[in-house]
């Protein structure tokens, strides 16, 4: 059974100098240096090619079988596409972030930036997408497409991709985005990288370089799709900068309509229920105020809500606060809840279990308030306050209220 892998990855012993670079790069601890030569443990190796890239002596070779039949003529594919997510007719802010980032990528590729807009009565929004930098807007407008549903949206985009052949396809790593593009990528046999936090172009090879965290943010991986098109990625909310609207800009509109079978769905949306108490949702929020076990009881969450209200932020919670039933699960930040990256994260009475840290460590600024000076949250906090949340939080609310006049 090992012969398969053995033929696929090899250390060229004449070139290997035993420098350890490959062993350090291996995320699976599959490489050891024995007698000054790298030895790959094939039981552990996942053929991820990190070692090959790390080797300065080209001493590692990974052979690809030549029988690959699914390659496409990649030169036929042009332009950077952004799927513009809408809910109840409102284009979501993640779409503007992607248009901002997409413009940079399109410039580097020397191609156009295109927006894909699907819904009902979306025509008035087209000019907003031009203003955010779209050179072309593909619009598919039909009452059957009013709300997102997996199958019709997948079918429509697959049709568009087959006809217009984009080189890059970006989508928000949202509930909708992650469900949608996972289906599209399978149908069109494209590479898809989830939840990217960095995008760039290898200008020489014209490849999209997609960087994303893995293992709960403990490592970062850069991923490419060399032989398949489009190169697809979902992008984490709040990482890229929104395109600034310029209402003088204009573009070209391409509207498409398809036969009813394209809009058919085996699932039916019966109702949409909004449950978040605050007006801003966690993944959209620039500021999040979170409460943990230190808040003590359900009623005390009002103090957290009040600070969030003054700051125009959203309310988050640690797992223990959710498990105690003080606040619904939809507010939970962390490994089994949401991953957020706001500009400011205020952790109140949260000790900072690793599972919580994983969900909020990419916030730009973290303020932690905890009475225990040894709480792990202080290890990641930009600013820490060792003190009683019941003194500090209301004082902050009052002071910010005065300054912000809220």
């Amino acid at each position: 059974m090992l012969s398969e892998a053995k033929s696929r990855i090899n250390v060229i012993r004449d070139k290997c100098v035993g420098c350890h670079l490959c062993a350090k790069s291996c995320p699976f601890s599959a490489i050891e240096i024995k007698d000054k030569k790298a030895v790959i443990n094939l039981e552990k190796c996942n053929l991820c090619s990190a070692c090959k890239e790390s080797c300065k002596f080209n001493a590692i070779e990974i052979s690809e079988l030549t029988s690959q039949v699914r390659f496409v003529d990649i030169n036929e594919y042009k332009d950077v596409w952004v799927f513009c997510e809408q809910k109840k007719g409102v284009v979501q802010s993640i779409s503007y972030e992607l248009l901002g980032e997409g413009k940079k990528l399109a410039r580097k590729l020397g191609s156009k930036l295109c927006a894909v807009l699907i819904g009902e009565g979306m025509m008035p929004k087209v000019k907003d997408l031009y203003a955010r930098g779209a050179d072309i807007v593909y619009l598919v407008d039909n009452p059957k497409l009013k709300h997102y549903q997996d199958e019709p949206y997948t079918n429509v985009i697959v049709k568009l991709i087959h006809e217009y052949k984009p080189e890059v396809f970006l989508c928000g790593a949202s509930v909708i985005g992650r469900s949608l593009v996972s289906r599209i990528a399978i149908k069109i046999n494209a590479g898809l990288t989830a939840d990217c936090t960095g995008l760039d172009i290898d200008t020489e090879k014209k490849l999209l370089l997609q960087t994303r965290p893995a293992f709960g943010g403990n490592i970062m991986a850069t991923i490419i799709s060399p032989n398949h098109r489009p190169q697809m990625a979902t992008v984490r909310h709040k990482v890229m900068k929104e395109a600034i609207p310029d209402h003088k800009l204009t573009g070209k509109l391409i509207t498409k309509a398809y036969d009813d079978s394209v809009y058919a769905s085996r699932t039916k949306l019966l109702d949409i229920v909004e449950e978040i108490e605050e007006t801003v949702n966690l993944s959209e929020a620039d500021i999040i105020v979170s409460g943990g076990r230190g808040i003590g009881k359900q009623d005390n969450f009002d103090m957290i809500r009040e600070l969030a209200r003054v700051l125009n932020g959203a309310v988050g919670a640690s797992r223990s606060a959710v498990d105690a039933g003080w606040i619904p699960y939809s507010h939970q930040v962390g490994q089994t809840g949401k991953t957020v990256c706001p500009k400011l994260y205020i952790a109140c009475g949260i000790s900072g279990q690793i599972q919580h840290i994983i969900g909020m460590q990419s916030a730009k600024v973290i303020l932690a308030i905890n009475k225990d000076a040894d709480a792990p949250i202080f290890k990641v906090a930009t600013y820490g306050i060792v003190g009683d949340v019941f003194d500090i939080v209301p004082a902050l609310t009052k002071r910010f209220g005065e300054i912000l006049k809220r």
Binding site: A185, A190, Y383
Partner: protein, 261 residues
């Protein structure tokens, strides 16, 4: 009802540490566990069986040691376990993984509902569940937080969204991915543990599930990892000291730009 649950064995991410000297992951001594989200999938599968009768088949694609995760699933109430393992699967990305799992489910043949966790805690992609349903050409409902009603040919489900939830009706067979909110997983019973010990785990390789060699492992994977690096760990900053009113004034001053800008 024939229920299939897909699980993954993952390193316990909360134990993953960085070697400060080499700046690499320390994987030695890190235990392997069932992906936390998959525990909810197992529990929901077992609850459906308890309510409606039928059988829960748990499947996993992975190295031989993933058998441990499958045995644990049996101890939690699953009836049958299948390990899909082959060196030919090495290098699989989410495209190839979902193809391989879909071929496994095709071989199982009788299924009404497939349940996956919303994502795995090591890769965090949330792509394999929808990938399986697409390969099988069946509908999917992701981020399910409640099964309201289920019968032989349809189900009514609640799907968690950023703002709340949606109520969705779907035809069966369907694939769902579940979130933590859906249930509170049980601990294995003594009887379950005994059963897990003596149970035989079925083992299938690439040939057993009739895989196209171009669709599995590295061949079937459009994506390639070209670089892996450790991010600079976030460092703790300044601890503010003083009386509450002094601290408050300082914080407001420090954060003013972040909040207004």
């Amino acid at each position: 009802m024939n229920i299939v649950v897909c699980i993954k064995q993952v390193p316990n991410t909360t134990q993953v540490r960085i070697n400060p000297e080499t700046n690499t992951l320390i994987r030695e001594g890190v235990e392997s566990v069932i992906n936390p989200f998959d525990s909810y999938a197992i529990e929901e599968g077992v609850r459906l069986k308890e309510k409606l009768g039928g059988k829960v088949t748990v499947i996993s694609m992975g190295p031989p040691q993933a058998e441990d995760a499958l045995r644990e699933a049996i101890s939690l109430g699953c009836d049958e376990a299948i390990l899909v393992s082959d060196r030919k699967f090495a290098g699989s990305d989410t495209w190839a993984t979902s193809y391989t799992l879909s071929q496994t489910i095709r071989k199982i043949k009788d299924f009404d509902i497939i349940i996956c966790g919303k994502q795995a805690s090591d890769g965090d992609t949330a792509q394999v569940g929808p990938g399986i349903s697409t390969h099988l050409d069946i509908p999917q409902v992701t981020y399910v937080r409640k099964i309201e009603e289920i019968s032989n040919d349809k189900a009514k489900l609640e799907r968690l969204t950023e703002e709340g939830y949606e109520i969705i009706e779907t035809k069966l067979p369907v694939l769902i991915t579940v979130v933590k909110e859906i249930n509170d997983p049980r601990m294995p019973s003594l009887k379950g543990k005994m059963k897990a010990k003596s149970a035989s785990v079925i083992k299938w390789n690439a040939d057993d599930i009739d895989c196209n060699v171009n669709d599995i492992g590295l061949n079937g994977s459009p994506t390639r990892v070209v670089k892996i690096f450790t991010p600079q760990p976030r460092k703790g900053g300044e601890i503010l000291k003083g009386e509450p009113h002094e601290i408050t004034a300082k914080v407001v001053d420090l954060l003013k730009d972040v909040i207004i800008g």
